[in-house]
């Protein structure tokens, strides 16, 4: 189960890499992305153990590239993924994956109301925001997200969790997907942010 999840992420990353390499040589017009502080950055993540459940609070900065913003303005929904992996530290082998969680959000511009709709694809709840800034702030401010039941963890073992936030290129419309793979400014992703899970 855990192996499968790990394999899946590798497959996705590997596929993205292959696509990038192969399509880089196709004669498609390149557009040089404006270099600015674009990207996703996880500022802080913390977990609290309350009544045998780990609750997660996170603070993530989303700075979308102009291309992404442009697409969003033009009604293209952008899907953001939060991947969280809990693993057990082992001295002599690689760490064992205990659980993988994925939260997916979709951000879309609603032209009629001039609102930004933030949809949680896991729970289908929708929030509307009057500006992109508040929408991204709401997206980046995760409060009291139930992460894990403590019963899944054994005592006297070291556990850690890591999180990554990224824009899901595969969820883009098909024509855009190709461009997203071969041009910069689309494959936005944060580094893995790792923290220990305290008992």
């Amino acid at each position: 189960m855990t192996g499968l999840a790990r394999h899946n992420t590798f497959w996705l990353r590997g596929r993205a890499l292959i696509m990038g390499l192969m399509l880089a040589y196709l004669p498609v017009g390149f557009t040089t992305a404006s270099v600015q502080a674009e990207g996703i950055e996880i500022n802080n993540v913390e977990t609290r153990l309350v009544e045998n459940v780990y609750w997660l609070n996170a603070d993530i900065d989303f700075n979308f590239s102009n291309k992404t913003l442009d697409a969003l303005k033009n009604g293209v929904p952008i899907t953001i993924e939060l991947n969280i992996v809990v693993s057990r530290h082992r001295d002599y082998l690689w760490d064992e994956t205990i659980a993988t969680l994925q939260q997916r959000y979709q951000l879309q511009y609603h032209a009629l109301t001039k609102q930004y709709l933030l949809k949680n694809l896991n729970s289908t709840s929708i929030q509307s925001h009057s500006s992109l800034k508040t929408a991204l702030a709401a997206l980046g401010n995760i409060i009291n997200f139930p992460l894990l039941d403590k019963n899944l963890l054994e005592d006297h073992q070291q556990y850690s969790a890591r999180m990554r936030a990224s824009v899901d290129v595969e969820a883009l419309p098909v024509p855009l997907r190709l461009l997203a793979y071969i041009t910069s400014g689309w494959r936005l992703s944060s580094e893995w942010y790792e923290w220990p899970l305290k008992h």
Binding site: G29, G75, L112, L117, Q127, S128, A137, V174
Partner: protein
Amino acid sequence: MAFKALTRITLGFWPVAALFVLLLISLYLMSAATQNSQQFGMLFSSLLVINLLGLAVLIILIGANLHRLWRQYRNHVPGSRLAVRLVIMFIILALTPVSVVYYFSLQFLQHGIDSWFDVRLEKTLEDALELSRTALDAKMREYRKQTESMAKELAETPSNQASFLLNDLRERSGAAELTLLSQDGRILASSTVNPTTNLPHRPDDNILFQLRQGLTYVGLDPIGESGLYIRVALQISHADPMTESRLLQALYPVAERMSNLADSVQAGYSQYQELSYLRKPVKISFTLTLSLVLLLSLLTAVWAAFYSARRLVAPIRVLAIGTRAVASGDYNRRLPLPPNNDELSFLVQSFNDMTRKLAQARDSARESQDKVEEHRTYLATLLGRLTSGVLSLNKTMELRTANSTAGHILGVDIEQVLGQSLDIICKERPYLQHFVDILQPHVEGMEQEWREQVVLFGAGGRQILMCRGALLPGGAGQEAEHVIVFDDVTTLIQAQRDAAWGEVARRLAHEIKNPLTPIQLSAERLRHKYLKVMDPKDAEVLDRSTHTIVQQVEALKEMVKAFSEYARPPQLQLRTLDLNQLINEVIDLYRADDKAVRITTRLDPSLPHIHADPGRLRQLLHNLIKNGIEAAGGANAVAHISITSGCVQQPGFKVAEIRVCDTGPGFPGEILANIFEPYVTTKPKGTGLGLAIVKKIVEEHGGVVWADNPREGGACIVICFPVDSDLTEGHTHALANHHTAEAGGKQ
């Protein structure tokens, strides 16, 4: 093994056909994904990768084919040039229409996609959106007023009663939700139409900030799945400034019909906007798909070009290889028939038939050649085993065939002279000239059958050959040949002659010698008894008669003794000797006591030693000198005898020659030919065996002797002895051994 499998995959038809079909399906799915993102959208990236990999495989296959063809072309493999031409032709045939179609498809694609988008349509949609907003604006203003009045009511109500009032107000106003919030956004009280479903919808920070500034927020919110709502939020202003101000938010549902219409407009506008934005990526995607399809078709066509060229050329290549094999003499190669039953197959079949027939013809030719060879070997063996020499000559005296015995008898290496004319052979070997002289008239005269006896004097000494010739009838187109069979009958004739004379001598000894002694004794007794008693006159007669009888009996005894000697020669004691020294020794005897003889010698100091019996040679010289004295001497005349020795160099062998000449009358012409036969003599005295014994001794030594009357007068006896090559040059003993054996055989 793995390489073979790989070759089968790269060259086989079905694997590539399967790859082509798979790629086609994959491209179809990709095209569907490009057009309809719902169905295959998730697969797009995978399909793209699969297609690119498939195309890469095709390119590798083509590369392998190209490399193979290039290698064949460079190595001049039969059929490779034709294959190259076919491949180029096929590729051009495929490339031209595909390129044209590709160009126009691209044009259509660009213009087709651009034609979807229209400025008027865009404006219309924007207007529709604006219209929706305007339609909703009226409602929003109405709800604002309503909410403001509700806020006034709430401002006068204490906090603990507010929740009751909220319900009341909500029901009156027709709002879906009324929420009372504190300044920092905490929900104080709330009333909803359907309390079980949703939590109260809290305004976002942006709105809260706006409210805290004292502004009123009126906006249209799409809330969840439940459609559009009009959100009105404002600050409840209190009369008492000490009281903490609160916020009121009211959510009014938009009428369903209106909401649906607005949604529809929103969806249409949004989709159009998205499509418009995606115009360029869509073009790229379609172009990519089209290019992939084109590439697939083109690469498959190129591969098919290689495949078809190979298939077409294969029988031709096989034929070319077969032709080369036949040209180099290999008729056993059978070409594999091509699977198709077409003209090429017929050609290959005919070629196989041809080579089979050629092979049969060659085999039968070889068989008959073998038979001829076998026959020839058989004949050669037969001829080789014959003790007779066999020659065949054509009309121009050219040596056609000869067996080894012929070479052995004639002292010629047959292998060297085969095919040469006898005249040329004789130039190098003059001792054969006599042999040729005798053959020539018979051969040139096309005589049917003839017999001749030839005497040769060559390396092997004197040889008597018995030749029989016959004309071979020539076949069609072949010239007539003469076959000559000859035997070396020297030994045979010698033996016959020896036997004949031996018999004569034995008889003489037996018939004559026995009565001689009684005759002599009787005569002596008569003389002894009656000589004293008879009167002197009779006594003188008796004395003379008995004396004659005794003398003649003595002569007869001498003659019988000579005969015996002639019949039974002592065994030859051969040794190497110097002829000159021997001659001097013999002459010394005559010089010492005989003044009636003058012997002059002219001896060649370079005369080689010969193999001979010195006793027999002394006898020979005595006989000759005596013979000379008897011929030249008498009547007080002084006999002059000259003895000459010399070495005569013949081609291939040497001869020691001795000439003994006298100053006598010479041999009468009528007996010159038979001078060496017994009892042929010109002298009144003598046994008539002197020269016969000379000849016998000479022949025992393998030499020849002949008599001659020189022009300056007198008679001359010439003797030639063969000189062994090993005595002069240290060569083999073969000839000497041969002579020894021959000499032994004659005794």
